[in-house]
Homo-oligomer: 169 residues x 2
Amino acid sequence: MKVSNLAKALNTTADTVRYYTKIGLLHPQKSQLNGYMFYNAQQQQRLSFILTARHLGFSVKDITNIFHETDNNHTGCKLVRDIIKQRLVEVEQQFLDAQALMKLMKQAIGEWDHLPDKTPTSQSICHLMDSFSAIQSEINPAKSLTETLKSTKANLTETDNNGEMHENK
Amino acid sequence: MKVSNLAKALNTTADTVRYYTKIGLLHPQKSQLNGYMFYNAQQQQRLSFILTARHLGFSVKDITNIFHETDNNHTGCKLVRDIIKQRLVEVEQQFLDAQALMKLMKQAIGEWDHLPDKTPTSQSICHLMDSFSAIQSEINPAKSLTETLKSTKANLTETDNNGEMHENK
DNA sequence: ATAAACCTAAGTGTAACACCTAGGTCAACA
DNA sequence: TGTTGACCTAGGTGTTACACTTAGGTTTAT
């Protein structure tokens, strides 16, 4: 079938199908007459796999690797299992992050509902700044967790209590 | 303080600070002598707000809007409250999605652990394809939920049981 | 004096597509 | 048969929020 047909059948877009084709994940047959691309049942199954994998959080690169394995007569099972296990850790973190965020946001909304709407503080962003500052101390560690792997050592310069830095000049 | 100092103090990168400066979220003082940018306490607080907001899932555009309000003598409270409430819905969905994914992935890993590693099926991607196909029916609705807003009507062409499409030609 | 460490602006790269352009194709209707 | 409208192609640009690179000037420390 043609590109839009396939796209609609698997609930995606023609552009996406073309993209996967372009980067070599799908191998349609190209008509000699008009250049149209035709996808058979096997390609449909391939796309189905891609879409599901993408939804599970696999990157396109991951999928490329998997296909590279399986297209070369390997099963790819171990690879996929490894990637999934890795992804599972990330998803669990996302779960926790989302949970924490929900709590904080509900809390913030709750607090604000008790405050009048138009009482600007010295810093002009009313109490938002204050609320956000309070939240930030709870938020940042969470962020650190997620990005610990790639973060270089923090190496913070010490601050005084005015939040002003010592410009050792 | 200078860009790297500020970045380290708030646990971000100099590039990020330069980016926010470039798009007008931060307004440092530029030295006449050497062109170096200097950020005072107020700018530091601004950046702190930006980082926290970003971590709460606000887009840079959202933050731009908020600053646009607050910089024009409005409090921005209502705007922020609205955006947060809107974001809360998304975060709740992320929470549910992550939960569902965790379940499915654990399930998949569990199943595969009972199967041998190298038993290719007819489709060459061993049982991955089968497992994924089974998962997909559960996954796709979740995706639809997330993307319902922007998805045009599905308008699926009917498929026969071979997964082959009728090419009404 | 010179190296290490910092700074600048401007440009390119990233992920995974979405959207647009210009032009060819196909099915149906008048 | 002409023409509309829906489809297709390749190739290009736009998107988000930065990270990275380049080329060159500056500051700091030894």
